[in-house]
């Protein structure tokens, strides 16, 4: 029973991170129709920024948000301006190829600068809480709380602000949004920048809990894709549910299947992804856009 | 071209229903096309005509009901399987291979049911080429034979799609809005071609049409759908006088 409870708690903590990690990916997809395969790499850049601040100036990783968020926002705005702008509203494979290339470029630039050595980030929120026989790492619970806070703020932003409403309108109907006077290119640029900032912050959140290295991206991108298949595009409650599902599946496999460890988490998410897509092309809870062949 | 009662239907739908989520696109439609006739399928926009076509040609699964072609059940067959049995169709949104030439488009639509595995790994046979040449002539596409399908006019693309449907020498051809976006001269040509195929080669046609003259000139029998249900069935003349049909079309 303790083992079960422990797995449940661990799964929820991991799931909270997954939920906040997937949002940038799923909103970009929903609003701009771009499947951003460089998602994991952008997250990795956020994690590296945190590591630099932590190592170089002794910053607390969670305080790095004041640098990471604006820096990543600027990076996202620049990327959108130079590259992503050219692939919006083009066939999905073009955007796949371009963002796939982008992911390789980012990973290798980071490797060139910082080498492939895994880095670790120290935090003062270490140690454990004990609840009976269950141990809860303080860092991970802080990550969970921060993730929930960020999601709540994002939700308020999308529901209450003018800009947020424009973003939602653009996601639902590009042409209509254009007609009612929303400047769609501006919305795209802001959306991409916000999502990259969000992704960078997710990288910041994960940095104290795992090794930071240039090639940590691809599995995260794939998990983001799997969660999006579960949750639908751009939905915050959906992301929370999908993230929790994947987190729980991963932890329970690692707990109950002997001799495997968490490496097979990626296999689990892949199996979920393929099964969901094959049996329900609209995503588990609907909302994934079916891909119509160009003709 | 009398209503061929007593004959068994070529294509038959029994109690066909189709739901999209909670929305019933078709409910319990009973439907039959008899060999040798040209039948019309009409109804206001959104009445379920194309959905019925998609179900009959197996592009979409039915939610309930059964479909029979040439007496055998095809409810769960794949589109290519019913194509092998002699059913061909065109699409409302034209589906030609846009990046290929007219000639290549035609060669890509041979009589698959008769292609053996050994032929599959040989170049296109002379017989197929001869048939393509003949149909291109028949459909007045000679002069655009080497143009890419994407560069043709809307009317020419409709003709090409009809040609591709005819390539396998099917017994039943479903035409989805063969005249939409086509200029009046070409409409007359299409009409003439359908008549020739029906009378000389005894091909059976089922047409979705909005052009009422086209329907009344060609069809011996017309089936009217409204809100996914059968509204009426009869000769074009009868339906012109049917209050319900007029109401459905012009009323609301």
């Amino acid at each position: 029973m303790d083992q079960f409870n422990q797995a449940l708690i661990n799964g929820i903590m991991l799931g909270g991170f997954y939920a906040v990690m997937v949002l940038g990916f799923s909103i970009i997809w929903g609003v701009m129709g771009v499947i951003n395969l460089a998602h994991g790499e952008l997250l990795m850049v956020g994690a590296y920024l945190t590591w630099m601040l932590n190592k170089g100036w002794g910053w607390e990783p969670f305080a790095a948000i004041i640098i990471v968020a604006p820096a990543m926002f600027a990076l996202g705005y620049g990327l959108q301006y130079v590259l992503i702008n050219r692939i919006i509203e083009r066939p999905p494979l073009i955007s796949l190829l371009v963002t796939f290339s982008l992911s390789i470029i980012i990973a290798n630039v980071v490797k060139l600068i910082y080498t492939a050595t895994p880095r670790s980030v120290n935090t003062m929120f270490d140690g454990f809480w004990r609840l009976g026989n269950i141990t809860i790492p303080v860092t991970k619970s802080v990550v969970l709380v921060a993730a929930l806070l960020i999601m709540a703020m994002l939700h308020l932003f999308l529901q209450k602000t003018r800009l947020g409403k424009s973003i939602r309108a653009a996601a639902q109907n590009r042409e209509a949004a254009r007609i009612v006077g929303i400047e769609i290119n501006h919305v795209y640029a802001i959306t991409f920048a916000i999502c990259v900032a969000l992704t960078g912050v997710a990288g910041m959140l994960i940095s104290p809990t795992q090794a930071v290295f240039p090639f940590m991206g691809p599995p995260l991108t794939l998990k983001a894709f799997a969660i999006t298949a579960l949750s639908g595009l751009g939905s915050i409650p959906g992301a929370l549910m999908g993230g929790m599902m994947l987190g729980l599946v991963e932890i329970f496999i690692a707990t109950y299947v002997p001799g495997i460890g968490t490496n097979l988490g990626i296999v689990a998410s892949f199996v979920i992804l393929v099964v969901v897509l094959v049996t329900r092309p609209q995503g588990l809870f609907g909302g994934l856009k079916p891909v119509e062949q160009a003709h | 071209m009398n209503t061929p009662h007593g004959q068994s239907p070529l294509l038959e739908g029994r109690q066909v229903s189709k739901n999209f989520g909670g929305l019933a696109a078709l409910s319990n439609v009973d439907f039959a096309v008899y060999p040798g006739e040209v039948m019309g399928l009409i109804g206001p926009n959104g009445s379920g005509k194309t959905t019925l076509f998609d179900c009959l040609s197996r592009v979409q699964e039915v939610s309930a009901g059964q479909i029979f072609f040439k007496g055998s059940e095809i409810t769960h067959k794949k589109p290519y399987q019913v194509a092998h049995m002699g059913l061909a169709r065109t699409f409302q949104v034209i589906r030609v291979y846009r990046k290929l030439t007219v000639w290549e488009n035609m060669l890509l639509s041979p009589q698959w049911g008769k292609i053996t595995p050994s032929q599959l790994f040989k170049p296109t046979s002379e017989a197929i080429k001869a048939r393509a040449r003949e149909l291109i002539g028949f459909l007045l596409l000679d002069h655009v034979m080497d143009l890419k399908a994407g560069n043709l006019s809307g009317g020419q693309r409709r003709l090409l799609e009809i040609g591709m449907a005819l390539m396998p020498d099917p017994d039943l051809i479903l035409l989805d809005e063969a005249t939409s976006g086509v200029n009046p001269t070409l409409i007359e040509e299409i009409k003439d071609r359908i008549r020739t195929l029906n009378q000389q080669q005894h091909k059976t046609f089922l047409l979705i049409e909005h052009n009422i003259h086209f329907i009344s000139d060609l069809c011996s029998r017309v089936f009217v759908l409204n809100y996914g249900e059968k509204l009426a069935e009869g000769t074009p003349a009868e339906l012109m006088e049917n209050e319900e049909v007029i109401e459905a079309y012009f009323g609301a």
Binding site: L93, V98, F100, N263, V267, L273 | A83, K99, W112
Partner: protein, 330 residues
């Protein structure tokens, strides 16, 4: 005997005596060059295989290197663990790749467009982890060492013959009804299915053929390299290379992947050989440039003499009269 067959035979005859000139004299051909050529033949084969599913059938496979890895591990495990000789081990490697292609393809090939691409990328990453975890069989992260065998000319000949065979095979397939149907599926799958093409079967056959040939290359590579581990075999960049070479040359053309592979290999070997740490960065930038500015590839751009300016120029250069596509083969 078509123009193509003639060209292939000519190339083959030209390449055949190369190993005879290997010698110590620096002006002669070095073993390093022979090795280099072997690598290039492998890349040509890989790009051509990828083109079969990505270019002809239109299913852009982002995980095709999984079959390379399976071929390599199938061969490697049989040699290192079971002590088999190379040839039968290679057969096993290729079979593993094909069987896996049949299994995974019957699920993933139902997905359309980007969903297929991502599912295959997932397959690739998942397989790397599975191989890493399956320690008793694969040696896990520490890899497998194969019995060393240094015979550059032999590998040169094998890969040369393989590349020629694959190019010829794809050229031949392109002219058959089967090959034409793959194009139909690429252009409009729903239409193709409605016109009588068993699209599922066609896709799976094309996918498995490509996987088979890629598995063979993987096995050869493993033997030549004598050491395999998950990271060196399941290397993301390998798929990127296949995609990039094919796209540079021209998707869905027979010559495209050959030209693309030769060109990129040459660039890598000659132009940026001294900056290898930038290699993957340059590769990524190049792929973006190709996708954005040359989406039809060299063959496609030069071949289409009616609608691209580069193609018009090329057409004027090749023959004064505008194109007359009389011999329109499907």
């Amino acid at each position: 005997m078509g123009r193509w067959t003639l060209l292939l035979v000519l190339l083959f005859l030209l390449a055949l005596p190369l190993p005879k000139f290997v010698g110590p004299n620096p002006k002669m051909i070095s073993n390093a060059l022979l090795f280099s050529m072997t690598q290039m033949f492998m890349l040509i084969t890989l790009a051509s295989n990828w083109n079969l599913i990505g270019g002809f059938t239109g299913y852009v496979d982002f995980g095709h290197a999984v079959f390379f890895g399976l071929g390599a591990y199938g061969t490697g495990v049989m040699m290192a663990k079971a002590g088999w000789p190379f040839a039968p081990a290679l057969v096993i490697g290729a079979l593993v790749a094909v069987i896996f292609a049949l299994l995974i393809g019957s699920a993933t090939l139902r997905l359309k467009g980007p969903y297929f691409s991502i599912a295959m990328l997932g397959t690739f990453v998942a397989m790397r982890e599975i191989v890493r975890v399956a320690k008793p069989l694969t040696g896990g992260g520490s890899g497998l060492t194969l019995p060393p065998y240094l015979n550059r000319p032999l590998f040169y000949y094998i890969t040369l013959v393989m590349a020629i065979l694959v190019i010829w095979f794809i050229w031949w397939l392109r002219g058959t009804q089967f090959g034409a149907s793959l194009i139909a599926i690429r252009e409009d799958e729903v239409g193709a299915e409605m016109r009588g093409i068993n699209t599922t079967l066609h896709k799976i056959v094309a996918f498995s053929l490509a996987a088979f040939s890629t598995g063979v290359v993987g096995g050869l590579w493993a033997y030549q390299n004598t050491f395999i581990d998950p990271d060196v075999v399941f290397f993301e960049s390998r798929t990127v290379e296949m995609v990039m070479m094919t796209m540079l040359g021209g998707l869905g053309t027979v010559a495209g992947p050959v030209i693309g592979a030769a060109l990129i290999y040459w660039l890598r070997d000659v132009v940026w050989a001294n900056f290898l740490q930038f290699h993957l960065i340059v590769q990524g930038l190049l792929l973006i440039a190709i996708v954005l500015f040359l989406p039809e590839g060299l063959m496609g751009t030069l071949g289409d003499r009616s609608s691209t300016s580069l193609g018009r120029l090329w057409g004027r250069y090749m023959n004064a009269s505008p194109q007359t596509p009389q011999e329109a083969q499907p």
